[in-house]
């Protein structure tokens, strides 16, 4: 484990440096509540997520980090009795404005979930899904885009000979990379990763982390993780949340080595959570 982590850390640092990160997502006074339950609510969240960097959300379970992530592509709306107030800006567009096309938003803000959820279709069709629903049915273009996405997800070599196999026959790690390929095939601007490696074995986890590193050159990545080492390994910025509030947000190195808040320190030193 430690061997890999050193590796990743070394890889991570170099290209990021010297780039001026613009702001991709900006959150202003976001409040979220559920009528059904008290937990997972969010209170007065404001933060700006830099573009083409990896931002990690950490915190104890039930702190609202997944809820916050789901605010970025309005997936929270699928949960009954969920109310959101406040603003979320994606490239200076308010994504909660009334005229926003949610489907278009979600195309721009892709998401990968905790458990790999490939559709019970072929590998090819899984990646083609997002393109097809946008009316792209030309075989030549599809082939091209799918190969691009699979290569970007570092899965191409493993599946190029079994494009027609059912996606459910892939291993867990492959499935998760397939899902990432599926997400990037529609060329989103932001990629939301909700504990993408928590259901995977260490080797698969490593490959996903390497992939995240590769992808951040092109996409703004927001990752939710309960694994602090992972956050430290892959992210440039880290937000620590607790009880639905944003406790601290800053550069990963600073936050882990020199936290401002005592809550953060307690958490990263393992005093609770």
């Amino acid at each position: 484990m430690s061997r890999y982590s050193i590796n990743v850390r070394a890889l991570k640092r170099a290209p990021s440096r010297g780039r001026d990160p613009g702001v991709s997502l900006r959150v202003e006074d976001l409040n979220l509540s559920y009528t059904r339950s008290q937990s997972d609510a969010l209170h007065d969240i404001s933060l700006a997520i830099p573009s083409r960097q990896v931002t990690a959300f950490i915190g104890p379970s039930g702190c609202g980090k997944s809820s916050l992530l789901r605010c970025f592509n309005r997936m929270n709306e699928l949960i009954e009795g969920c109310t959101v107030t406040g603003r979320v800006w994606l490239d200076n567009e308010d994504i909660y404005a009334p005229q926003v096309d949610v489907a278009a938003l979600r195309r721009r803000v892709g998401m990968v979930f905790q458990n790999p959820n490939p559709f019970p279709k072929s590998v090819y069709e899984n990646v083609a899904f997002g393109l097809r629903i946008q009316g792209q049915n030309k075989k030549r273009i599809l082939d091209e885009e799918i190969e691009k996405a699979l290569r970007a997800a570092a899965l191409w070599d493993e599946v190029k000979d079994r494009m027609d196999a059912n996606a459910l026959t892939l291993s867990g790690g492959q499935q998760q990379r397939l899902v990432i390929a599926r997400a990037i095939a529609v060329q989103p601007e932001v990629l939301l990763l909700d504990e993408p490696a928590s259901a995977l074995d260490p080797i698969s986890t490593l490959r996903i982390e390497e992939l995240i590193y590769e992808l951040k050159t092109r996409y703004t990545i927001v990752i939710v993780t309960h694994n602090m080492q992972q956050a430290a390994r892959v992210s440039d910025m880290t937000a620590f949340m607790n009880l639905g509030r944003l406790v601290e947000f800053g550069e990963t190195d600073t936050l882990f080595t020199n936290p401002r808040e005592s809550q953060t320190e307690d958490y990263i030193t393992g005093r609770y959570g």
Binding site: D101, A103, A104, I133, Q134, G135
Partner: protein, 705 residues
């Protein structure tokens, strides 16, 4: 980019359309059930429509006016300037009294022309013959009645003498009237002519007399029969009935099966002419009655008073359908047309009619559900006989026997299904291994796949004759079903006590299968000789001779079997699911405390699943209430009110299936069948809703684990 936004727009539109469609589908489901309920109600509601007097019409006299009581509309018969004289008519025949001579006309006018109240020239009526009368006649007393080819005429002379004439008016018969003369006919008597029975009914002196008027050979008909009243009351008495009180008005009951009498105190009395007995209690009329009569095809009677008061009522039921005063009525006699369509009164210059709106007289809640004292019955009855006219009686519309039959069929089905479903659900859901359960459960549920028409056919055609022959065997079956497992349990326990090597998990199902088959074969072969030995011959004959229990070949035992098979699987399914869903940890906890498996089941698992038990019972009953094909094929369909397992029944569902295809749309029977379907709908709705509430409670309970 433009292309892309067009695509996005199309996608959004499609999303909206689909969303709309899906929501519409959801709403359609509610709409459907509301539509069913609303339509049943819409068809049923006219039954509650009250009785009313409609428009009145006046037809001025042309020559002389006749009204035919039988037909739907009155009509006039006459021509300007024709010789006047009193005209009286029945359905086929008119009689004119003019200068001491009776002219008899046959009214061979097409019915269609009769329904419009236009004058029909007298020439179109065929003169059948004339009868010379011997002396002056009181015009008001002229009466006639005809039935097929027999015509009865009666009149009185000023001195009080009553004369009855009987004429055959068929084309073949010679026009030779027979004549009866009753010289000392009492003044305060009333009489009615009945051509169909060739009878004269006389009420007077505290007695109702029925006097036969037999046909005699033509030679004797030339000289009139002279009878003194005294002599007549002894010689020609068909039947004599005591009458309490003195009569004020006398008239026919519906279909002439009864005679109605109103006494001076305005109390109504009914006399059953079929059984020769008085019927039921008397009831008071609301005003001084001057005339009384009834419809021919429905159980509706009327009374009318001197000031135009009228009332309509159903003689077998209490209360009035209508009480009213006819506007514009004068002092003459008011009568109701034979079809009940209008009141009519002959006034000095005109014939006045009032329409009667009375489509559904016998559909009050009381007459549908409470006992009715029908004609030809010794007591109040609950009977369903909607096709009465076809079998020569008035229809009877009591839904009670149908509802009784419906519940009887369902409950006998439950008697069979409940132990079977509960037992099977307990064993499958709790004692069987999951692997075996996953095979056994769908197999038992396949019982549901038998079309009920097949079960009904097997019960009605294969089992019914077998049951009659093997009654004892069938009655012993439940005993066998319980005793075989108990015997096996005892045997197994004994073996285990003797040698501990016997498994404590015996192959129960296999052992039971063998034991049941053996017991069945042995009992089957032995049962008929045993029956012959025990009951001298067949058990059904013995039941009849010893206890007067009637044995119908298609009976409730049969229904128990067939209906039982039909409702077992759904009950089993609900119950088994509930028992299986009770977490194992619960019963494990109980077992760990030293309870036996059955104790854990009874004390822990079953209570947890008890809402499902109730739910299953209710759903079973609801299924049984609505089941159609089985009861249609295997109940015998007689609407009896007999809870005996050996007797037949008729259910609502079977009645609807049999009668609705024949019922004319909008008729009383049609609407009553819709009403019974509505009752069925309401019952099952109630049962299913309660069952659903219990099932939801079950889900809530499991939510806690």
């Amino acid at each position: 980019m433009n292309d892309r936004s067009a695509t996005a727009k199309r996608r959004l539109l499609l999303d909206r359309v689909i969303s709309l469609l899906v929501n519409a589908a959801g709403a359609t489901i509610i709409l459907l059930i509301v539509l069913i309920l609303a339509y049943l109600l819409y068809t049923t509601l006219p039954l509650t429509r009250g009785t009313a007097i409609g428009a009145s019409q006046s037809f001025s006299h042309l020559g002389s006016t006749v009204f035919a009581r039988y037909d739907a509309a009155p009509w006039t018969l006459g021509e300007p300037g024709a010789e006047a004289g009193l005209l009286v008519s029945s359905s086929q025949v008119a009689v004119r009294l003019h200068e001491n001579q009776l002219s008899v006309f046959s009214l061979q006018v097409e019915r269609e022309s009769l329904t419009t109240p236009e004058p029909v020239p007298l020439q179109r009526a065929v003169l059948l013959g004339r009868i010379k009368l011997d002396g002056e006649v009181l015009e008001d007393t002229l009466q006639l009645d005809d039935w097929e080819e027999t015509l009865l005429i009666s009149y009185q002379h000023p001195q009080g003498e009553l004369v009855v004439l009987k004429v055959q008016v068929g084309e073949s018969a010679a026009f030779l009237p027979q004549r009866w003369r009753f010289a000392d006919y009492p003044q305060d008597s009333f009489h009615l002519l009945d051509a169909s029975r060739a009878e004269l009914l006389v009420v007077g002196g505290g007695l109702l007399r029925r006097i036969e008027l037999p046909s005699q050979d033509s030679s004797s008909a030339i000289s009139p029969h002279e009878h003194s009243w005294q002599e007549l009351s002894q010689r020609h008495t068909g039947a004599v009935l005591p009458v309490q009180g003195s009569a004020q008005a006398v008239g026919w009951g519906p279909r002439r099966d009864t005679l109605l009498l109103v006494d001076k105190e305005q109390f109504l009395h009914r006399f059953d002419l079929v059984r020769s007995a008085s019927i039921g209690p008397t009831s008071p009329m609301p005003f001084p009655v001057t005339s009384i009569g009834s419809e021919r095809q429905r159980r509706v009677s009327f009374v009318a008073g001197a000031a135009g008061e009228v009332a309509l009522f159903v003689p077998s039921s209490s209360g009035f359908l209508l009480q009213s005063i006819l506007p514009g009525a004068s002092g003459g006699e008011i009568v109701l047309s034979d079809d009940g369509g209008r009141f009519m009164q002959s006034q000095p210059d005109a014939l006045m009619t009032w329409n009667v709106l009375n489509d559904y007289p016998e559909t009050s809640a009381r007459s549908l559900w409470a006992p009715q004292w029908y004609e030809a019955a010794p007591r109040g009855q609950l009977e369903w006989q909607p096709d009465g006219l076809a079998i020569g009686a008035l229809s009877k519309y009591s839904l009670t026997p149908l509802l009784f039959g419906t519940f009887k069929a369902a409950l006998y089905g439950m008697l069979f299904a409940v132990p079977l479903a509960i037992g099977a659900a307990i064993y499958t859901g709790y004692f069987l291994s999951t692997r075996l359960r996953n095979r056994v459960k769908p197999t038992i549920e396949l019982l549901e796949a038998f079309p009920t028409v097949v079960l009904g056919f097997i019960a009605g055609l294969w089992l019914a004759p077998l049951l009659a022959d093997y009654l004892l065997f069938v009655l012993l079956l439940p005993l066998v079903a319980f005793s075989v497992p108990l015997l096996l349990a005892a045997a197994h326990f004994t073996c285990r006590s003797i040698s501990p090597r016997f498994s404590d998990r015996p192959p129960r199902l296999v052992l039971l299968l063998i034991a049941y088959l053996l017991a069945g074969v042995v009992l089957f072969d032995a049962s008929r000789p045993l029956e012959a030995w025990l009951f001298t011959d067949s058990m059904s004959d013995w039941l009849w001779s010893e206890f007067g229990v009637h044995y119908d070949q298609r009976n409730a035992i049969l229904i128990g079997f067939a209906m039982g098979i039909a409702i077992t699987p759904s009950m089993f399914s609900i119950l088994e699911d509930a028992i299986y869903a009770v977490p194992r940890s619960l019963s494990d906890g109980s077992l760990a405390l030293g309870a036996t498996r059955w104790q854990s089941l009874a004390k822990v698992v079953l209570p947890a699943a008890s809402p499902a038990l109730l739910s299953a019972l209710l759903i079973g009953v609801a299924r049984g209430l609505g089941e159609t094909m089985i009861v249609l094929l295997a109940t015998g369909n007689s609407p009896l009110l007999d809870p005996s397992p050996f007797s037949s029944m008729r259910t609502i569902s079977a009645t609807v299936a049999i009668e609705l295809p024949e019922a004319s749309a909008g008729g009383i029977n049609f609407r009553l069948l819709f009403l019974s379907a509505l009752v069925l709908f309401a019952l099952t709705f109630l049962f299913n809703t309660i069952a659903e509430i219990y099932r939801q409670r079950l889900r809530y309970t499991y939510g806690q684990f």
